[in-house]
Every structure is written in C-alpha cells, then in structure tokens.
Subunit: 115 residues, 2 copies
Amino acid sequence: MNVRRTRYYCPVEFAVEVIGGKWAVVVLAHLKDGEHRYGELRRRMPEVSEKVLTTRLRELEDADLVERTSDGGTPPAVTYRLTPEAAELTPALRVLYDWGRRRAEHQGIPIEPVC
Amino acid sequence: MNVRRTRYYCPVEFAVEVIGGKWAVVVLAHLKDGEHRYGELRRRMPEVSEKVLTTRLRELEDADLVERTSDGGTPPAVTYRLTPEAAELTPALRVLYDWGRRRAEHQGIPIEPVC
DNA sequence: ACGTTCACGCACCACAAGGTACGTACTTGC
DNA sequence: GCAAGTACGTACCTTGTGGTGCGTGAACGT
C-alpha cells in the first residue's frame, strides 16, 4: 500500500484513499458476500473493463484488503476474498447497498440484482 | 443529479456514483456532525483547493445530498448541511471514520483530529 | 484446424478529478 | 491606501481513472 501523503486531517479522507475509487468499492461490495472467482466478478460487473478490474484487484491486494489465491493450474483458478481488516467495512458496504437501492428505486433507475 | 447511465448492476455502484469521489465523501463526513460554513469546511480540509471544494459542494447540492443556505449578505454567510436522505449514510461514514482511524494508527500515519 | 475458457499483460487513448493562479465585490479595520 | 474576511468564478494545466483493442498460453471440445 503506497501512502500518498504523510499526514491527513480526517480519518475518512485516509480511508477512502486506502480503499480506492468507484470500482474498488464495488469489488469490495461483491466480496462482502463471500469469495469470488475472477470470472464471477467480471460477470457481476459487466460495465468495467478487464483491464480496470485486474488493476483494481491488484491494488486492493497490495492494500491488504483482498486476498488472492490461485490453484496454479492452466488456466488458473484465481479466487479473491476480503481480508479480515476489509471485512470490518462490511457494515458500511451494507448501508451503501440499501441506500443505493432505495435511491435508485426512487429515481426509477433499474438495478439488476446480481450484487 | 445527472445519471450517467440508465441501468446499473449493483446498488453500491449506483450509490458511489451518486455520492461522488473522495472529496465528496470527506465533505459528507464533516457535515454528518452538523452544519458547516464554507470557511469552516475549508479549514477542516486544508488539502483541497477552494475550486474543488466549491465544485464538489455544488455537485452534492445538485444530487440533493446537501442543502445550501445563504443569508444573502455581503460577504454572504453560506451554510451547508446534509439532506435527510444523505443523513441516512451517516452509519457508513461512521464506519469509515473508525476504520480509517484504526488503519492509520496501525500504519503510523498521523491524523489531525479536526474531523 | 478453430473456438472457448481461464486470468491476466501491454500499448495507447479520452476525459474527469484535481490542481495553480488569478479574478470578483462588498465590508471592516489599520 | 492596503489587508483581511466572505464565497465563490475563470483559465489553464497535470495526473489518475477508466476505456479499447489487441495479445499470452495451456486445456478442452467441436
């Protein structure tokens, strides 16, 4: 994990920098329900490119938020899961999930329930 | 609020898009503790430029997450507060706050407690 | 042979986020 | 006069996020 600055003025500011941006949050939201294979994440997130998905997963791994395990086969079966530390964010992710569902419903935005 | 896409695959994805990025989250985190004047937000967030702070506040207002009131004087006294809908995100912001504090402490990153 | 699967990597690009450096206009105090 | 306060706006620039379009190599199925 590369700390961008050496001091912060707010723990939330630090937290969102550690976690990363939009797709990182969505990845964590999927993994909060249990471990996923790469392909499974890809299917659940059809709007992100493979390049970005891979990059964000690597960053989450580097930040010790995600554990990556591979069976070493060919093709490899790679599995991602939340670290215990990242799992502590689950309550926040649940709030976001419920809030987002209510908001989308209110605005008439359809959400496919594959999350 | 400008919806970027017409359908989503995950409520969390939609939520983080509505809320916006890093500085928007930090603004919400400050406002969860009560209304703030513009200058107060600026002092609590010394690492963000006025331009970006103003822009993000406008976006949060447009997304109906923040209410802006002005006394119309010169110079104006402008106050920002969370909308009831945004206030529902408070539990998530609290989780982020505590998580960020613990993580920073663990990594030896100093955080000035002005948040 | 080709196509599909798996989980990536590389080259290149567009645009949003975020920054700097000014500016606005009024009021108050030195 | 200038400086400071208030809360912004404008022009221009840099960097990060996210994208497209390829490619890898092994195994399996048609």
